[in-house]
């Protein structure tokens, strides 16, 4: 069953220079019990996408077009009052910084109980406390610590408390925005395992938003790679990491050191994503892409389908003809418009 179906979604931010197209025509769906990863660099629109789905866009942000269907109800059509009912009850969010997301002047118990009572009026205190105990057990916290304040918890414990709160109402969709980025590896490992276990228990679907391709590789079934407000590539996690067809995915993967490999050169993709108020007409990655042609610079790429992947690249069909090997060398990535522009600037300065 499809839990979430997003189609042609456009989310814009009002700026002085005009609307910035943070999310620009994105379509995807999440099935029941499925984990979808969203990866991309800062500013690619991944967090905006999550905020639009749960309905917490800032004042200057708005849905310009498209629909967000949650269990066959289009959330974008709902008035605020009705929409609010979905928040936490059906769709919840684990924020990146638990310190900012938890209220410092209330104990953890008070905050979870408040969420439960707001959404399920009539819930007795005993029942609410049972939920607190159950959730603390689920995330591996000592229930006796529920009466502590957030500052009495360590970073990892706060993140667990945040997860306990997000799951207290057993939502069918959990949006996890960089759930472990602020933590060290050991804590990250504990929490990722915990999230997986809980999910099977309450059978919720999850959208994991992160810049860390390793986290996605380990927790998700399917992955969307976003670039400058658009989907670059989407597909099963094994294919995205095994045989991607978009040059951006290939480059992104090579930018990470892998503990299992010695002596690998890290490759950087020269340049920056385009600005979103007036994005370039063709493929948004063209400037930083070693395969870019005039066609790429002018026309938006259509979707190419290979092995369950959806790859928005004009030259996706040529990726198998040796590009994968060439993509392992720094020379390949020096041969882009962005890299040439940087070189020209440097020479101009001498």
């Amino acid at each position: 069953m499809t839990v979430l179906d997003v189609s042609d979604l456009e989310v814009y931010y009002e700026t002085e220079a005009g609307p910035a197209k943070a999310v620009d025509g994105i379509s995807f769906s999440i099935e029941e019990g499925e984990n979808l990863g969203i990866v991309g660099e800062s500013g690619c629109g991944k967090t905006t996408l999550a905020k639009a789905i749960i309905g917490i866009l800032p004042d200057e942000g708005y849905v310009n077009n498209g629909s967000i269907e949650f269990n066959d109800t289009d959330l974008t059509e709902l008035p605020d009052a009705q929409r609010r009912r979905y928040k936490w009850e059906e769709i919840s969010m684990i924020a990146q910084s638990a310190m900012n997301a938890l209220d410092p002047v209330y104990t953890i118990r008070e905050q979870i109980v408040e969420a439960v009572e707001t959404h399920r009026p009539g819930t007795g205190r005993t029942e609410a406390n049972e939920i607190v105990a159950e959730m603390f057990d689920l995330v591996g916290l000592d229930a006796a610590r529920a009466d502590d304040y957030p500052h009495q918890f360590s970073g990892g414990m706060r993140q667990r408390a945040m997860i306990a709160m997000a799951l207290a109402l057993k939502p069918s969709l959990v949006l996890a925005d960089e759930p472990t980025t602020a933590l060290d590896v050991i804590m990250q490992d504990q929490i990722l395992k915990r999230i997986g276990r809980i999910q099977t228990e309450i059978n919720s679907s999850m959208m994991v938003i992160t810049h860390d391709v390793s986290v996605v590789a380990e927790t998700c079934d399917r992955v969307i790679v976003m670039y400058a407000g658009k989907i670059a590539e989407e597909g099963p996690v094994e294919e995205i990491f095994g045989r991607p067809y978009h040059p951006y995915t290939i480059g992104l993967k090579r930018a990470f050191p892998n503990i299992r490999k010695s002596d690998q050169d890290l490759l950087s993709i020269a340049g920056y994503p385009p600005e979103l108020v007036d994005p370039p007409s063709g493929c948004r990655f063209a400037e930083r892409c070693p395969l870019a042609t005039d066609e790429c610079r002018e026309f938006e790429p259509p979707a190419h389908h290979n092995n369950g992947l959806r790859s928005y690249c004009h030259r996706a069909d040529e990726i198998d003809d040796g590009f994968r090997d060439r993509a392992d060398t720094a020379e390949t990535w020096a041969d882009t418009d962005a890299a040439r522009a940087i070189d020209a600037l440097a020479e101009g300065g001498d």
Binding site: F241, G242, A346
Partner: protein, 366 residues
């Protein structure tokens, strides 16, 4: 300090039994009570006996969980903290005994790159002033030429274009490059880099890391990298030291430590690192709990409460020394009772008991 330590030009930095303890903040009442009762103040044992050598041109990675003391160690190395005990010798000169001139010279030679370029740069200083400031402090000439060269090296080109910019006008990657240019402008020999890329966006990390690799090579720098990210340290470092609760538990060549980890803690740490490849299943032994507080440090091995290889009372009563071991192939030193000390360690120890009784010399050299 032991005089049998080799003193060739190669070894830039010798750290022996470095300790840094912080007194726990207490309220005025408990402080008064303590003065009446005569009770001892509580101390956080952030760094509690760390020894290592750093050779010229060598890169050493300090790894461990949050709170293991790796950052405090790094800050003590460049004299941002005054160590509680132990010694740091730079080019053979003990810094605790150094006079003001020698210290000034040391500070010129030792620089630090911080984690967060959004906080480590003064928002009210231009890029030019930020980089020129160390030159002014140390009264170095050719200011403009040196600033320009540092910016060029950090790939901020053309340099003059950046002179009058303020940190808020720069991206995170550019800011960290300014921080690197500032660290390099005095031509140091030694740099401590504390999580240099963890605040940067993915696509920018590789660029800053390759810049740092180039910097190490071209300036023949010795660098201590501090990070919890072992994938990054494996990529950047010749040697690794794994820290737990203020102590080094395993130390040796990076390949040996990563490919063939011996200390149970090192194994858990390596196993916890996610791999960007869904095909590779990794052994997932969960390490429960967190680093305890370093005020009442556990007796014996500090890891015994979380250790999966706990072998009995000895773990709780006797502190395992960091030493070469006889039971495995790797060249690393390990502080764990699971292994028997290597033959040369045993011999050295016999020699010592008759000799000076200094226990650091045996375990310190790699």
């Amino acid at each position: 300090m032991s005089l049998n330590t080799p003193m060739d030009d190669e070894t830039l930095l010798e750290v022996r039994n470095l300790e840094k303890h912080f007194q726990v903040d207490e309220g005025i009442i408990s402080s008064l009570l303590r003065s009446v009762t005569g009770a001892e103040a509580d101390y956080v044992h952030a760094v509690d006996g760390v020894s290592f050598d750093l050779k010229r041109g060598e890169t050493l990675g300090l790894a461990g969980e949050s709170g293991c003391g790796k950052t405090t160690t790094g800050m003590s190395l460049v004299k941002l903290h005054e160590p509680t005990d132990g010694s740091i010798r730079f080019r053979g000169r003990d810094l605790t005994e150094a006079d003001d001139d020698e210290l000034a010279q040391f500070r010129q030679n030792a620089q630090m790159i911080f984690q967060d370029p959004f906080e480590s740069l003064n928002p009210r200083m231009t890029v030019y002033d930020t980089i020129a400031e160390p030159l002014r402090i140390h009264d170095v000439r050719n200011e403009t030429a040196r600033v320009r060269r540092a910016l060029e090296f950090a790939e901020l080109q053309p340099p003059d274009q950046y002179f009058n910019q303020y940190p808020h006008e720069l991206s995170g990657g550019q800011r960290q490059r300014v921080a690197i240019a500032r660290a390099l402008v005095l031509d140091p020999d030694f740099i401590v880099a504390d999580e240099p890329v963890s605040m940067l966006d993915v696509s920018l990390r590789a660029g800053v890391l390759s810049l740092m690799e180039r910097m190490t090579e071209e300036f023949d720098l010795s660098v201590v990298y501090i990070s919890h990210d072992l994938s990054l340290l494996r990529h950047m470092c010749d040697r690794l030291a794994i820290m737990y609760m203020g102590k080094i538990v395993e130390k040796g060549p990076t390949e040996d430590v990563i490919e063939n980890p011996q200390h149970p803690y090192t194994r858990s740490l390596i196993n916890a690192v996610p791999v960007p490849d869904p095909g590779i299943g990794r052994e997932r032994v969960e390490l429960g709990g967190e680093v305890g507080d370093a005020i009442d440090v556990p007796s014996g091995c500090r890891f015994h409460g979380r250790c999966s290889e706990y072998i009995g009372d000895i773990c709780e009563t006797e502190e395992p020394p960091l030493e070469g071991k006889a039971d495995f192939e790797g060249r690393q030193e390990v502080a764990c009772h699971l292994y028997e000390p290597a033959d040369d360690v045993v011999e050295a120890r016999v020699g010592e008991t008759t000799d000076t009784g200094d226990d650091s010399a045996a375990s310190a050299d790699d």
